[in-house]
């Protein structure tokens, strides 16, 4: 199919983009378009106006801030992030998650912030952003505000962004020294949307888990942080509480049946991948 008619404006600046977003028309923002274009082509969405921020140099950056955080502008592609020289050393969880997104051909156009703002329930980045305690920098005509990733993702394809909000930058703090990590997903074929996946960050101190974040995707409407499983792990070593972690996943997760997988398969995958990921993150702790 072809998109329904819309108007297109290449934003001249961030201010211009948010001014257009604050107007009366039903508008959507495009950067790489790897999520929006399929929606337009299938006519699942019919915006009146498409605002292109992909050419704004001020948003086209992947850089490390003075405080050591990774700043990813809204026009920066996933390929740009993977090419950053500091990414594998500082943010290996993020690099691994991004390398699981689609194919090189998709990552060459797709942006980090675009995937975060789109919030597909099967997407890698929302779960990864929560696991890494990322921060979203949001601009609107009302001003600039900042929210933690954990408050960003509210449901399938739904975020805390208001219709006139523009996600301008995602900030990933440097993980604590010695933190272990793991990213695992199951997809029918490489490059497909994951059926289920999990991102884990874990800190080991004195032979026990001192802190951890366990975030799954593909098991509900949005990325799901499993606080109860994290609490079971605290102060223990993963191998000793494996059954309790599994029990918490069984109690907390409630995946639905759909054309891609049954609820039972999703639950089994969630438990298997999470147990494996926790063990791997534990092993990676320095």
């Amino acid at each position: 199919m072809k998109p329904a008619p819309f108007d297109y404006v290449a934003a001249r600046s961030v201010e211009h983009a948010v001014e257009l977003l604050a107007g009366d028309t039903e508008a959507k923002v495009i950067a790489g378009g790897q999520s929006l274009m399929p929606i337009l082509n299938m006519r699942l969405g019919r915006p009146e106006l498409v605002i292109d921020i992909g050419r704004l140099d001020v948003l086209n950056h992947v850089r490390i801030s003075e405080s050591g955080a990774l700043l990813v502008g809204a026009a920066a592609t996933q390929t740009q992030l993977l090419a950053h020289p500091g990414i594998n050393r500082g943010w290996p969880l993020l690099a691994t998650a991004v390398s699981n997104i689609g194919h090189p051909q998709i990552r060459n156009r797709g942006t980090i912030c675009g995937s975060l703002a789109h919030n597909d329930p099967a997407a890698e980045l929302p779960a990864t952003a929560i696991a890494l305690d990322a921060t979203m920098h949001i601009q609107s005509s009302r001003g600039l505000r900042t929210i933690p990733a954990e408050q960003m993702f509210v449901g399938p394809f739904m975020t805390a962004l208001a219709p006139d909000d523009l996600l301008i930058e995602a900030e990933f703090p440097l993980p604590p020294a010695g933190a272990g990590w793991s990213f695992r997903e199951f997809a029918t074929r490489p490059g497909d949307f994951a059926t289920v996946g999990v991102a884990v960050q874990l800190i080991r101190r004195d032979g026990v888990v001192a802190d951890t974040r366990i975030v799954l995707f593909g098991v509900g409407g949005s990325a799901t942080r499993v606080h109860s499983a994290e609490e079971v792990l605290m102060g223990s070593s993963p191998s000793r509480v494996e059954n309790q972690v599994r029990a918490q996943l069984e109690a907390e997760l409630n995946p639905a049946d759909d054309v891609h997988a049954s609820a039972g398969l999703r639950q089994d995958l969630a438990e298997k991948l999470t147990i494996e990921a926790i063990a791997e993150a534990w092993e990676r702790c320095a």
Binding site: A10, N41, N108
Partner: protein, 184 residues
């Protein structure tokens, strides 16, 4: 009409303007030729190439980014032209499968490898495979076997085993045949 072996700038005819507010003037380079045109906001880059420039080597498969048959190089980087608006190509440098070797030129190393290894099945996906690998070649250096396969997976189009395509890709980059057992 064709940016392949044409003379001077190309200005394809503009269809009747049904929604004047949503039209844009664009100019870009397509296969080393200057192209200027008026395009509707919603026109996909794929359809601009095929319908307006008559460059039908770029194929339309799924129109949702899955199959890769529409792959082109945008500023030297391989992208899905079905997930790119024509207006987004304004000012950019575009290369399609027609831009690899002209009708009277010898085949490129990549095309020759596909020819020699019979690197195709029904052939519908072939332009996309060629452009994905041309994009990989633009990165410079010799890619690893895994990098080649990762690029090939972006063009899977549901035929069969891709054995000859993998052979052709490796030949093009001077790597050993994946199906032949290596010595030692």
């Amino acid at each position: 009409m064709s940016p392949r072996g044409g003379k001077g700038p190309i200005h394809p005819a503009t269809p009747p303007l049904s929604e004047p507010s949503a039209w844009h003037d664009i100019s870009l380079t397509v296969n080393d030729e200057q192209v200027s045109a008026q395009v509707e906001s919603r026109l996909l880059l794929t359809d601009f190439l095929r319908h307006r420039l008559r460059l039908t080597g770029t194929h339309v498969g799924c129109e949702q980014g899955s199959c890769g048959a529409c792959s082109v190089l945008l500023d030297g980087v391989v992208v899905r032209s079905c997930l790119t608006l024509a207006v987004q190509a304004n000012g950019r440098d575009l290369r399609t499968v027609e831009g690899l070797a002209g009708p009277d030129d010898p085949l490129t190393t990549l095309q020759q490898a596909f020819h020699e290894q019979h690197g195709m099945q029904c052939g519908f996906c072939t332009p996309g495979f060629l452009m994905s690998l041309a994009g990989l070649a633009e990165d410079g250096g010799t890619p690893s076997s895994d990098e080649i396969d990762e690029h090939l997976t972006g063009n899977f189009c549901r035929c069969t085993g891709y054995v000859n395509i993998r052979k052709a890709a490796r030949q093009a980059f001077g790597l050993p045949d994946p199906e032949e057992p290596s010595d030692g």
